[in-house]
């Protein structure tokens, strides 16, 4: 394991270079800022900054975007604990106990525990990446097109069925995303697909327009006049309110350890991102607790364990993204898209060919988390004030950034129009009970699934059974089958239980 530390040293040298350090700092600062603002999410922030990164070097670009991602997780905790507003899905669980604590006047303590748990979880998640990533890379070098194709299928299935909402609808959204990925000129044959004679579509759909339409415009339409004005007058957290008592720490520490472990495990299973980790860890914590009745009424463990789980799995999520080039959720897909725009294809070669990016990223996680610790603890009063910015002033400004961001990606008004269409469709899909995140996952992976499927078919001479003849691929396909069967089974059980409940 010693070589890994030598390379980590190199990573720190990269991440501490003034230029990179500046972008990393800017990333976590923007992430924290956006995370705190009610009604804004990490997805919108990352897609907004995407056009800006076109002008940066790849290392700086990825350090910044990753910083936005985990920075927004820290900021989101403030919003959910103090206002009961979970801006990001993983924090929905933190609200359950965080908000009651605020109402008991212990909001400061809850925030402190959340920050400590986040930092601890993230540190372990980074360490996990440090050890697992090189090992996974060595295995991944053996993968041919059949294996890659099967693993991508597993990733897509897990990403679409394990997320929120109905699994079938998730699969439908992933398929729509895959379809959107085929729009434009086919690289293999030169045929124009789904273009309908519109010249601007020959180059395909831009990732920026898709992301900002789905997570910018559609979100504004959903939230406008819906997000109640925040009554934050009673909230006043100062630094000295944050010191947790010994009793709080005694309760929170074991919860943090359990949460971190669950988060680390979840990050290793493709498709189970921070959201699942936080839900699972909360349920588990409630199970092992000797006083489960306290949960939901301000149990400090209920803040510590989901926060630790969220952050450890956030960092761990980078493992499959960077080593296999297969993102676990939509945020990772977006970061992957940012790398591909820079001309870098993540995959097993990344560590060897682009050591600056890989090790620099890991080192920057630590630096970024320490920066966030410094941003959060002494400056808590400032962030709490930020909570009072009303959404009605926020979204027109955000709309302007969306328009100008999309335009500047390619200097094209057509892309702005495309974003409007995507936004409207995204809103309609949401109304019909679909969650848009898997669209992005499918969109990013689509072209690579097709390419690898094509290669596998070329090698095998058109024999579809080839996927089952390769041992690794066969195992992965079996996992896919298990996943589908489990979902169908759960659905049938739920259906029967509900029928039974409705009958008498």
């Amino acid at each position: 394991m010693l070589p890994a530390f030598a390379e980590l040293g190199h990573g720190f040298a990269v991440a501490l270079a003034p230029h990179n350090l500046f972008w990393c700092f800017l990333g976590v600062l923007i992430g924290q800022f956006v995370g705190v603002l009610p009604g804004m999410g990490a997805m919108a922030a990352i897609s907004l900054l995407l056009p800006l990164t076109f002008a940066l070097k790849p290392v700086a670009a990825i350090l910044m975007l990753a910083g936005v991602f985990y920075g927004s997780q820290y900021g989101g905790a403030i919003c959910s604990i103090l206002l009961n507003l979970p801006c990001h899905a993983p924090h929905a669980v933190t609200c359950l106990d965080g908000y009651p604590l605020t109402r008991q006047g212990k909001g400061g303590t809850a925030l402190a525990i959340a920050v400590i748990a986040s930092f601890a979880g993230a540190s372990v998640g980074i360490t996990e990446m440090l050890f697992f990533a090189p090992a996974l890379t060595r295995v991944a070098f053996e993968f041919g097109p059949a294996e890659i194709c099967s693993i991508m299928l597993l990733g897509l299935l897990a990403g679409s069925t394990l997320a929120r909402g109905s699994p079938v609808k998730g699969i439908a959204m992933t398929t729509v995303g895959l379809m959107l990925g085929t729009v434009g000129t086919d690289v293999n044959t030169g045929a124009a697909r789904f273009t309908y004679g519109i010249l601007d579509l020959y180059g395909g759909i831009e990732i920026v327009t898709l992301a900002l339409g789905l997570f910018g415009l559609a979100e504004f339409i959903r939230n406008v006049n819906r997000l109640a004005a925040v009554r934050a007058d009673h909230i006043n957290v100062r630094l000295r309110d944050m010191r947790p008592s010994r009793e709080d720490l005694r309760r929170a520490l074991p919860a943090m350890v359990r949460g971190t472990l669950i988060g680390c495990l979840c990050s290793l299973i493709p498709g189970t991102g921070p959201t699942i980790a936080s839900f699972v860890s909360y349920a588990a914590e409630k199970k092992v607790s000797r006083t489960p009745q306290r949960f939901g009424h301000g149990a400090i463990e209920g803040v510590a364990c989901p926060e630790a789980a969220t952050h450890s799995s956030c960092q761990g999520d980078f493992i499959p993204t960077m080593c296999l080039g297969i993102p676990g959720d939509a945020v990772m897909a977006l970061l992957l898209g940012a790398l591909m725009i820079q001309g870098i294809t993540p995959g097993p070669h990344l560590i060897r060919e682009q050591p600056d990016i890989f090790w620099g990223l890991i080192a920057s996680f630590w630096i970024g988390n320490i920066l966030l610790l410094m941003l959060n603890v002494p400056m808590i009063g400032l962030w709490v004030k930020l909570l009072k910015v009303p959404y009605r002033l926020l979204y027109p400004a955000a709309l302007f950034f969306v328009c100008i961001g999309v335009f500047s990606a390619q200097n094209s008004y057509f892309d702005v129009g495309e974003t409007i269409v995507v936004g409207v469709v995204g809103y309609i899909l949401h109304r019909l009970g679909f969650h848009p995140a898997p669209i992005l996952l499918g969109f990013i992976l689509g072209p690579r699934v097709e390419e690898n499927f094509r290669r596998a078919m070329l090698i095998s001479g058109g024999d579809i059974g080839y996927f089952l003849q390769q041992p690794i691929s066969a195992v992965v396909l079996c996992l896919c089958l298990v996943l589908i069967l489990a979902q169908v089974g759960f659905w049938l059980i739920r259906l029967r239980r509900r029928r039974a409940a409705a009958a008498p």
Binding site: R193, V224, R226, R392, P396, I420, L432, G433
Partner: protein, 153 residues
């Protein structure tokens, strides 16, 4: 009592997916599917279209069998907000093309801002003016994006 709105919603949702799937199948057919050993450009669209048609049917039928899956009903659309936001984005394109950056920012921000029912016109005006100044300085003067600051075209 079965939940009628949920039932109807899943029916429409499934139908929409079926429609998307059929579009893909048609496009795949037009491009030529080919065979597994010699795939045409339409192979993947065709395959995805078939999958999408299948999921569409499942969504519509499952919604019938399981009318309450516990999912919360989304809020009804807020027409004023939605129209103002979309109009703001459209205005950005129109004004940006013909009147320049300043008008585009001002028009889009002001239009979007009055979509909120509690925002007074004066507040919207101030917000739009402030963002116009900021946007012109940052994007027009410093970053130099290729939209002229002002000027009729």
């Amino acid at each position: 009592m079965p939940n009628r709105t949920k039932f109807k919603r899943d029916f429409i949702a499934g139908g929409l997916m079926l429609l998307f799937g059929l579009v893909a199948v048609l496009e795949g057919h037009r491009l030529g599917v080919g065979t597994l050993s010699d795939m045409g450009p339409g192979f993947v669209p065709m395959a995805l279209g078939v999958i999408l048609c299948g999921t569409g049917l499942v969504i519509a039928l499952a919604g019938q069998a399981d009318p309450e899956d516990g999912a919360a009903e989304p809020d009804a659309p807020d027409w004023r907000g939605a129209i103002c936001i979309l109009a703001g984005a459209v205005l950005f394109i129109v004004l940006g093309r013909h009147l320049g950056l300043a008008a585009a920012i001002f028009g889009s921000v002001f239009t979007a801002a009055i979509g909120d029912r509690t925002t007074r016109p004066g507040t919207a005006l101030l917000l739009a003016a402030g963002l116009t100044l900021f946007g012109c300085l940052l994007f027009g003067t410093i970053l130099r994006i290729p939209i002229p600051l002002y000027g009729l075209r």
